[in-house]
Symmetry: C2
Subunit: 502 residues, 2 copies
């Protein structure tokens, strides 16, 4: 071995290499040691203690099996007071309620909560308030250390034993993995949970091995049929068709529908009617858009294939057509939740969107939108990307029917303020269109296009007239959930309902 | 606005959203503000001070224009004592010598230094020793905070104004961006320097916008013809052909050439002869390999297309055929330097390689390899991935001619110890093959295959006999470079040569 000095000016102490220290035995396969025999083994490796924060993502949507599997394993070990930091919680995650009741889970945070967990939260099952963040706000909270993860459990459609994860291979393909992309950057431990262990290297890596600590094979990560959630067909009922067509007409008249136009819609039926109308108008005008973003459906894929857009920026595939497109078309690109909607990265994709079409449970006279609670106050959602895209887009359209289940949807004051009215430009209903008074020029354009522009007060009056019951008053119990804006400030709180089920 | 409590038990202080605080003016395009008019503006935005560390990558190899452009701009501003933390330095970076002489640059670190900078370093141009790391060691030093970057300047073949970077589009396409992928994770500021500003979103994003702070358009990021460096043809001279064929025969006889075989070669002429021989043997045996890794050439692409391998794991494209393949074939995957070779991520790709074929300036009786200095001690390289792959692979072959320029290449003791002998299994020369005494079973296999196995001492004797001059003694001046092993320990130092040019 060469003669080495012990210290070098401008370098520091010289540590001589120890031949036995860092080399694998020659000729033996250097095992990564990441592949563990069970979830239990992975939980041990993560060294989780009472009060730990465990994260999950919702790319398998209502087909997800991983959150339940992991929580069951954590409960069996007797861990208590855990914080479940999910991206979204669906009806399939109903067993979480029991984990709360028996003390395994003490805190929940998410961007969206639907189903039995939302109902239980509203009825006060948790002592501490649930934190509802936006998708971009959650990414910010992760990156800024506000939301620290002890372990991220990644439902991995396919993985190899070195920890490379693909959303584009395996039994339950889900496409892009935009949400866990943020979790794996910061979690103390990352566990890939897969039912399709592939030979190294797995095809089409979405999360590289360097971000993953442990790999576990389970029998099933969930039901692939649950991914699509049956939401990706345009609406066919006359009121929804009318709303969708009107929203398309608003975009057509807005002045934004020119070359380079960028667009986001959800996967709901009205949104897809709007998308179809916008697409027809683009084709008629010979306009080529730049990109569609957000959650992507086969509908968006067709717009790409038809040459209406140059690219798709996809944080989550909403159906298998989108998954197939992401597998095969390089114009269909993945983005992380931070890139999609983060308010902290110096400009997210939502900040580049020209027009976004959003839904609503309720809209009020201040154009504030509630997508968090249904009439009466039960948690049935949360912002997801709603408040993020509303803030980013040049034109934010909120589409809604005037009434639902007999309740008015245009109200004096929303039951829960999810998305602030100053970020909403137009409300499109089956009873007419209201333009935010901040957007004088836009109102002019819509009137010039002979669109039925009314005041929001007029829409509220129409909604009241068409309703069979009044919007119930806000609950007055203790706070059970906090609705955080994307920057970590608070837009509203949700209060405890009557504990008796109706 | 809703009535909000000021403090919530289990949540903390409630900060009410300020409508004016975090929303862009409605109807205006939210500008990302990342696109700056000049390198000078970007340098200002990075708030660089004397002594700052600035990083560069070498995907444009000897065609790179960005390091010189940036250093010129930094010199014009009068900054002093900067630390240039490059991945590799090539002859094209000769102007760096003047920046050292006039005090702009006070420190250099890199994984590889060739050309005038290496010569100047060896002659003592810098007061502080250069730190030569392996590719994996540099990734480790970045991730562990040992190498802190004030600004990373990313030569971006294409970028959009939001900071998305693609190596697969633009005037000077280079393919994968495995090296800067590590820098952008940790640098305090990241600057994308591009000559091809694309509409948002740039196609085939390799580095997403969330990792990039500033974007600058320059006239040229370099000469695309410099990328290939003319190294991607198999050797044709008889001694090199003989060595390459022998190396292939060693692999064929090693017992590793079975289904799932994984393989790495450099882009040198001998390596490609070996690859061709291995490919023929795989085809003859009907063996399907798993992956080729490292720097990828058209030669590897052909092996993929021929079905000899399932995947390519590519840290850097060595020629335009590789770039085209990465643009179009999803089996051709990118990996970061950390994923490729990091000793700190719980198993890197190098740890999965069955056989790697490496070159050498010198090999000694302890199987130690020098790829750092040429005979006499001038720095002409450094480990790059040499020591990483040698440590990781199950079978490490070092191929070399017995002599070069009249000097013996199998010597008693290497001029600089880059890659430790305990990680080298076989030395293949035009004078025969030597097997590391640690590998008794391998030597048996090679003898059974009638391969010319000699002792390393016998090869050294042959080399001495074929030489016209003796290996010069080590320089005895002060230390001008430290050769770090992948774990941050030191394998050797390089000492100052006579300051007079020969």
């Amino acid at each position: 071995m060469p003669d080495l000095p012990e210290y070098l000016h401008g370098y520091g102490p010289v540590r001589r290499r120890d031949p036995g220290g860092s080399t694998s035995p020659r000729g033996s396969r250097a095992l990564s040691g990441k592949l563990l025999p069970s979830l239990d083994a992975a939980i041990s490796a993560c060294e989780l203690k009472d009060g730990a924060t465990v994260s999950f993502h919702h790319h398998l949507r209502n087909g997800d099996g991983v959150l339940n599997l992991v929580m069951e394993a954590l409960a069996r070990r007797g861990l208590k007071n855990l914080h479940v930091a999910a991206t979204s919680i669906f009806p399939v995650h109903a067993p979480l309620v029991e984990h709360v009741r028996n003390g395994t889970v003490g805190r929940i945070s998410a961007a969206f909560i639907a189903g039995p967990v939302g109902e239980a939260v509203s009825r006060g099952v948790l002592a501490d308030p649930v934190v509802l963040r936006t998708h971009g706000g959650r990414a910010r909270a992760l990156d800024c250390g506000e939301l620290a993860l002890d372990a991220a459990f990644v439902a991995a459609p396919a993985a190899d034993e070195c920890g490379n994860i693909s959303g584009r291979a395996g039994r339950a393909v889900c496409g892009t993995l935009g949400y866990p992309l943020c979790d794996v950057e910061v979690a103390r431990h990352v566990v890939a949970v897969t039912d399709s262990l592939a030979p190294f290297p797995v095809a089409q890596i979405d999360i590289p091995q360097g971000k993953v600590d442990h790999v576990v094979k389970v029998e099933s990560i969930g039901d692939p049929a649950g991914i699509a959630s049956g939401t990706t067909r345009p609406a066919e009922d006359p009121p929804s068709l009318a709303i969708g067509e009107r929203a398309a007409a608003v975009i057509a008249a807005s002045g934004l529908l020119v070359d380079g136009f960028s667009f986001q819609t959800g996967a709901g039926g009205i949104s897809l009617v709007t998308a179809a109308g916008v697409g027809r108008e683009m084709a008629a005008r010979g306009v080529t858009g730049s990109f569609c973003s957000g959650g992507i459906t086969g509908f968006h894929v067709n717009m790409l294939r038809d040459g209406l857009f140059r690219a798709l920026m996809d944080v989550q595939c909403f159906d298998l057509e989108a998954v197939r497109s992401y597998q095969t078309d390089p114009r269909h690109q993945s983005m992380s939740a931070a890139t999609y909607a983060g308010p902290h990265i110096g400009g997210a994709v939502v900040d580049r969107v020209d027009a976004v079409v959003l839904g609503a449970c309720e809209v009020d006279l201040g154009f504030n939108v509630n997508v968090t609670t249904k009439a009466g106050g039960i948690v049935i959602g949360g912002s997801g990307g709603h408040a993020d895209t509303a803030a980013g887009a040049r034109l934010t359209l909120v589409t809604t029917r005037l009434t639902a289940a007999g309740y008015p949807k245009i109200v004096e004051s929303v039951g829960t303020l999810t998305t602030p009215g100053d970020t909403v430009d137009v409300v499109v209903t089956d009873g007419g269109i209201a333009v935010n008074p901040l957007r004088v020029e836009l109102a002019e354009r819509l009137r010039s296009a002979s669109l039925p522009v009314l005041s929001i007060e007029a829409l509220a009056a129409k909604a009241a007239a068409a309703s069979s019951r009044a919007a119930p008053p806000r609950a007055v119990g203790r706070v059970v959930a906090v609705s955080e804006y994307r920057d970590g400030t608070v837009t509203d709180v949700v209060r405890e309902m009557d504990r008796e089920p109706r």
